[in-house]
């Protein structure tokens, strides 16, 4: 290589190193504060929350209600939602049953979403002992929405605002799906069990 070519290569390399990377805003989620005593020996939630605070976000859907009651609170209730007819959620070790509804047919459960979500995205309501213990948003990308990350973050941020003594919000990925869930803290033995779609869970 001629000296001129070498200098040009080095200059290009240097510039590519120094070129400013595209700036990107990182979202920082917030949760309700904790209150500690002066010696910082014990901490507790600084604010108190009740199931009605969760109901205000979900259109009246709160943990502990029956499949029939959940269905009745949806904008377009499905016919014949009864415990005995519900399919089993086999990812759980105990008798957990569910029904689902399309996300685009929701009202309160999609009201915070600003980012796009695929047309096939849906919401699953999971029950144990005839009582709702988890709501799971499953956001699937498609041709019109290549990434559902922003939509998942919108949902996650909304439910993180409720203290974990009332509702525990989680966010993870399963295959190419973004999953956001809220779980009843009283059903914490079911907390570790998560949806793992057939395309396999990926780390990032």
């Amino acid at each position: 290589m001629r000296p001129g070519g070498l200098i040009a290569c080095l200059t290009a390399g240097l510039l590519s190193t120094l070129a400013p990377a595209a700036a990107q805003t990182k979202r920082i989620f917030t949760i309700p504060p904790m209150q500690w005593d002066n010696q910082m020996t014990q901490g507790r939630p600084a604010l108190s929350y009740s199931p009605s605070d969760l109901g205000n976000l979900t259109g009246g859907i709160t943990f502990g209600i029956s499949p029939y009651e959940v269905n009745a609170k949806l904008p377009t209730p499905a016919p014949g939602v009864e415990w005995g007819d519900l399919p089993f959620a086999t990812e759980y070790p105990t008798d957990v049953r569910y029904f689902w509804a399309r996300l685009d047919a929701m009202r309160d459960l999609k009201s915070s979403i600003k980012g796009c979500f695929g047309a096939n995205s849906y919401v699953v309501f999971l029950f144990t002992n005839h009582q709702l213990f988890r709501v799971s948003w499953r956001l699937l990308p498609d041709g019109d929405c290549a990434s559902t990350v922003a939509a998942a973050e919108d949902i996650y941020a909304r439910y993180l605002a409720i203290d974990s003594t009332v509702s525990v919000a989680t966010h993870y990925r399963a295959g190419n799906a973004e999953v956001v869930e809220i779980t009843d803290p009283n059903a914490d033995y079911l907390m570790p069990y998560r949806w793992d779609n057939r395309r396999g869970r990926t780390k990032r």
Partner: protein, 217 residues
Amino acid sequence: MMARHMIAIRSGRVIARSVMALAVIARSVIALAAIALAVISAPAGAAPSSGDISGGLPPVVKDSTKAATCTVTYLVTNIVTNDTIAVRMQVTPDQNDSPVGNLMPCPPDIPPRVASRALDACIRRAGDPKDCVFADMARDFEKHPGINSTAENSSRCSSDKASDIGIACFLVDGLQVCSVGCGGSPQSAIAAAVRRCEAKQQQQCPITGSQSILAPR
């Protein structure tokens, strides 16, 4: 006859006075009854509500100069989802504490259990506890991702020293490697985080964000 006439006149005067007195009493009773009836039957809305009191809330409630409680805010991150959570720890002031610049002082030393509780906020929501770390990461974090490659004390800011906490990251193979900074504004907190990130990681750190240290009142 004359005497009898005088007695009759006196009796008439006495009766007339008595009748007048009774009329005055009756009028007073009617007026009092009317007032009582008006008070009892008045609609609730007509009574002065708290909003009708001129001057608004009592000064002790309205006091906007109340010093802000010490708040220590941590940034914790889930390295699988890259979600970062600001965990605010408010500290009850000591009786002898006095505010400086409208801010209550924070304890000089923060016990490790407080940091542990901050990390719990991530762990409770993560698929695996090992996914959760403090947001200020060591050099080569991407090669050794885990809690031992992060600094708890550099991942927090106190409200008596700064108003905002910032974060600056770069992306390597889908993982955000970050540093944390404190500042007197969102911009200065981000600038402090960028300086720390670029000095430590020898990388440009273009992914940035900030949060106020104090919880919204």
